[in-house]
Symmetry: C2
Subunit: 269 residues, 2 copies
């Protein structure tokens, strides 16, 4: 039996640079699909493209219109291929209209001097010591596709009480577990609840307009991580007149920085 994630990002080639796919009910959001899985489907068009060079280094996805449930078409164009880097543009269309645009940089990596300045949270309890956020009740489907475990006091509380800041941490993996790869990591980078919900203590209408992910892990690190929980840390810098940013880091369970991600989100009220 295939994993719902693989079904959700599966594409059928339609000829040069064109692929078709469809939204999947398991990853439904309040309106249309979870943005992470749309991101992963677009990335997947590059990953399975016959002209692909290397692995993802950076990707930006712009959500121009809500997706309707159903089929979509993705154009994935390798606009420039150099010796070790490849630049992509993507468009996702439904009924002929552009709903999502994206760009990506792929590259082959070589071993170089390496160092990490960011520091993984030191006092995070182990995933096994924390309870999974309940995957039941009302609300959209997609959070049930992730096993999320927040340390005490950091789970999202929609209790109407405004918080002074929105930083939070969690352990997260696909549920059921699935070996981590670039598409799954790209999707997971959108799993952090909107910081404005945490900050304001209640949901407000929101929608991501642009999301950028930097892939620090290579394929070997992803394979080493397998299906175990990764550690996410998310925060926001500012909320101002209809738009806020949020950033997150994703760490392997052995303390390697796997990805960093940044988005601008529309909000109302």
């Amino acid at each position: 039996m295939s994993h719902d994630f693989d079904d959700a990002v599966r594409l059928v080639p339609l000829g040069e640079n064109r692929y078709t796919g469809a939204t999947h009910p398991a990853y439904a959001n309040m309106v249309g699909p979870y943005g992470g899985v749309t991101t992963a489907a677009m990335l997947n068009a590059g990953l399975q493209h016959p002209e692909r060079l290397g692995d993802p280094i950076a990707m930006t996805v712009n959500f121009a219109a809500p997706l309707a449930d159903g089929a979509f078409e993705i154009e994935a164009r390798p606009v420039r291929t150099n010796r070790s880097t490849q630049h992509w543009t993507f468009q996702l269309r439904q009924s002929g209209d552009v709903a999502v645009t994206a760009t990506a940089v792929f590259a082959t990596r070589r071993e170089t001097w390496s160092a990490t300045e960011a520091v993984a949270p030191a006092d995070m309890p182990a995933a096994a010591a924390l309870e999974r956020m309940p995957a039941t009740g009302a609300g959209p489907q997609w959070p049930r596709r992730y096993d999320m475990r927040f340390p005490p006091g950091e789970a999202m509380r929609l209790d109407g009480i405004e918080q002074a800041q929105a930083r939070s941490r969690l352990w997260v993996r696909d549920d059921p577990p699935r070996p981590l790869d670039f598409a799954a990591l790209a999707s997971l980078c959108d799993c952090f609840f909107p910081r404005i919900y945490i900050r304001r203590g209640r949901p407000v209408p929101i929608g991501t307009v642009s999301m950028t992910t930097f892939f620090h892990a290579d394929a070997a690190q992803l394979a080493e991580q397998g299906g175990r929980h990764v550690l996410g840390v998310a925060r926001a810098l500012t909320y101002r007149n209809g738009y806020f940013d949020q950033s997150a880091e994703v760490w392997s369970d052995s303390g390697q920085l796997m990805a960093s991600t940044h988005q601008m989100v529309y909000y109302r009220e």
Copy 2:
């Protein structure tokens, strides 16, 4: 007399969605132009487009190939215009080849609940109390177009001594001073020296492959800032097998967060 920056980002319309411009010697980098001014020229195609809606919210620029000194052509396409948001794709070509791709989201903002979580550096000496980094000697032209003032101990030292971390702060403005606008802010967001130079205490071959900027300021805040110094804070998370990230925040001199920016940079060695 016009400002070199305005000359460097000036575009001539060529018909539907097409503009031509040229690199400017005042903003030359080691090879081709400073990436910030290329970013600003591409953004400018959207800013002066007859179908423009609102102001920039987010922009991602991907540097696919080095620019040659001389003319370029920019295609700026408003791929989707909604009620309050507009999504753009850009391509910059030289001799028919794609050298840079970009996307942007523009939007009209409305007054909403607003708050800032990020905290501006509290112990930064005033710009007037710091000496300007010398704008003379060898090296590329573009840093001379910025008046940069680092606090003691935070100027880039290329003394061959490896540093434990690469965080640094500076006051920066165009030189000669020029009222801040979206194009100038987009350009300034690329002025932070490569974190790997600071970390390793020496230059190594580098090139930005992708850069994302989030615009938190609106036009009124930019006008209020005028030509005075803004405060930048830059850091990196990780350097790994040929690519590192760097992020920065840009604050007004009254403590408002104006922009945040994130890039992935290729490095060798």
